[in-house]
Symmetry: C2
């Protein structure tokens, strides 16, 4: 045997995701397989749809999984909604807005960006200006962009899309379950996510939900694939440029017709169902409140150590904080020391923020008091060795205070 | 809690796949996550590449996973190799050849089919005739097509592609690990698979390997995505129409550059690595021999029951047999009874064979004596109730004889 069995080192993943999975999710994923059209399997698929409706806060019938990582569902949404030449408006305030541009361009869309400096959100009125001028088919935005930790308010964008007749796509991969999100109330037509952020699962399955308007758009491009189509399946509109990401076919697979598309990734489905089940059991509001609390504790903690944070404080995501790397400190060597001495992973960053900030996450299973406090005392130890004049006990103390206040508040 | 935790019914999956996963694979998948650029993770990625080189029988450096089900890797191969308008030749002898046509068409290729009746392979000389005339960029074929249980010999096709300067893509999803496959010796440029057939894992991860010629073709269309590209990343050729399936970017992610693309599906990677590790430990030839033995036992067993099989006996896959549904028998009610009374799943079929044959698999973890014999005695019981004049003990006896002969052979 050339290699040993899987035995990963113990890690506390406090980066921007993936984070340590909830052990209950891994347990669910250890269950044996059933056939893809077994009554037990189709029942699990139906339950998964129902559970994710609760998580997305939607009544959308078409709520299911795309078999791939989070960006698989982004591409499925854009390739199914957009034909080549269609106009798409993308507010860009970080790397994941850039990703939407990249995907939309490859789909052949004519992309119009509305940019904001990293660390800010894009003012809705600037977006409306462009939408009014361009009259796009789709407005696509990243809700929480972990590259800058900013959370773009979606409700105004929903209103803008409604006013101008555009479909509204939101990538909620990094925000869902940890920040308020109201798919129906905010007028979002398609939202997609991953499991590996606030939902506490591993990457590899991508929940997605489509409004009635989005379904009509996709159904207007329905071409059942060769070998499955019957005489009733009259092709409609321009064929979607991807077979794997054809949401019309994926809806046929998840729906009553049960038409074979891919072979559903059983184990990832077990995991996705358990992620949603745990959030629904906790209560969506309680889960968001937990992320708010532990995010606030981490923010206070890094402040208590004497570190500065990055970005517009008013529009921070609950679940990740960008910490400025102190002058003269090698950010990567601090990350390596955190990993080597404590088994704790904190994140680096992309593009203009690479080497400028660390990203520290508090999400999913790791949105916990012990995870936050352990990270802060470890960071204090490592930074002191790196020559930073940290406040002794300052991180722990400031975070502890947030918890004490929250506890006092819950008694009042 | 609206739903209970995952607790699937006990099943013995003897269809065309997915089949019951090897418990060791599920155990590997229950390991906790590490970060996507953790040294432990990149080491596991490197080991996974190495192990799958052994499984594919190749020295190809570019051997890695696509994060999705088997058809994700098919699409990644075709969208990365083919530009719109490129000519592609597809031998079609079942549903999975049709799938290649469907995917290649959506990619914008000009597809030329070479068809054979279901139950036969496509004669190589007919393929060469078309290749010589069309001069395609790519010849794409399903190696084993479970819809008909036929296994197309690939070596002659490799020679044809070499003679005419075409790249050779083979979908080995259903065959790999259970039937001989020699990627390098047979001149296959790109091969891709899934885990859920002979490799004994769950669906959701798709191993792929690219020859040097295929890599050059893909690298000729290299466009590093927005937000990651540097001044050195001069765009080349026509941009690949999918960001998720852009093999040039996926190679940058798995390679030394470690450029972020998707977030690798950690748990599926653990499973894929374990699938390959188990096959390599058993020995590729031994694993193929095991599939040959249990496939032969199942074939003899259904014959011993008095049932007829479908398709050209000379070109059968080792791991699945198509059994003709006896006249007057409702195939679906037999399948339901097998599931209800014994927890055993056997397969239905597609298209022209729907209602005509059952497909019974012997693959991966379920290529085992007890699985074969249990299926045969259960089938006897169910068929008798359905009014079929089965030979009492005939299935068990005939299969048992195959095992006895093999055992005697191993002593001689």
């Amino acid at each position: 045997m050339p290699y040993d069995q899987i035995a990963p080192p113990a890690r506390l993943l406090m980066g921007p995701g993936p984070i340590s999975a909830d052990p209950r999710v891994l347990r669910a994923m250890s269950a044996q397989l059933v056939g893809q059209f077994d009554p037990a399997m189709t029942a699990y698929m139906g339950e998964t749809m129902e559970l994710f409706r609760a998580v997305f806060r939607t009544g959308n019938e078409q709520t299911f999984l795309v078999d791939g990582t989070a960006r698989a569902a982004i591409e499925a949404a854009l390739v199914s909604l957009c034909e080549p030449g269609d106009r798409v408006v993308v507010p860009v305030f970080g790397r994941f807005g850039q990703l939407l541009v990249e995907i939309a361009e490859r789909v052949g869309a004519e992309v119009h960006q509305v940019q904001a400096p990293w660390g800010e959100i894009v003012p809705p009125e600037r977006i409306e200006e462009v939408v009014a001028r361009v009259q796009p088919v789709v407005v696509a935005v990243a809700h929480g962009d972990t590259s800058t930790t900013m959370c773009q308010p979606l409700q105004p964008l929903g209103e803008i899309c409604a006013r101008h007749g555009a479909l509204f796509y939101a990538d909620v991969t990094a925000s869902l379950g940890g920040n308020p999100f109201e798919m129906d109330d905010w007028g979002v037509d398609v939202a997609s996510a991953g499991l590996q952020k606030c939902l506490g699962g591993p990457p590899g399955s991508a929940p997605i939900s489509l409004s009635g308007s989005a379904v009509r758009r996709v159904e207007g491009r329905r071409h059942v694939e060769l070998g499955l189509r019957t005489d009733q399946d009259v092709p409609r509109g321009r064929r979607i440029a991807s077979a794997y990401f054809d949401l019309a076919m994926i809806m046929d697979y998840w729906g009553k017709r049960g038409l074979n598309h891919h072979t559903e990734a059983t184990t990832m489905l077990y995991g996705a169902r358990e992620c949603a089940r745990l959030v629904v059991a906790e209560g969506i509001d309680a889960a968001i409140g937990r992320h708010r609390l532990h995010g606030a504790a981490m923010l206070a903690g890094v402040g208590g150590l004497g570190l500065e944070t990055f970005g517009d404080a008013e529009h921070r995501m609950n679940n990740v904080v960008a910490v400025r790397i102190p002058d003269g400190v090698d950010g990567e060597s601090v990350r390596r020391a955190m990993l080597a001495d404590f088994g704790i992973e904190i994140g680096t960053s992309f593009g203009p923020l690479h080497g400028v900030v660390w990203r520290i996450g508090t999400m999913g299973y790791n949105a916990r008091t012990d995870a936050v406090l352990t990270t802060l005392v470890a960071l204090e130890a490592v930074l002191r060795v790196a020559g930073v004049a940290v406040v002794a006990g300052g991180g722990f103390g400031a975070a502890r205070e947030v918890y004490d206040d929250a506890f006092a508040g819950s008694l009042s």
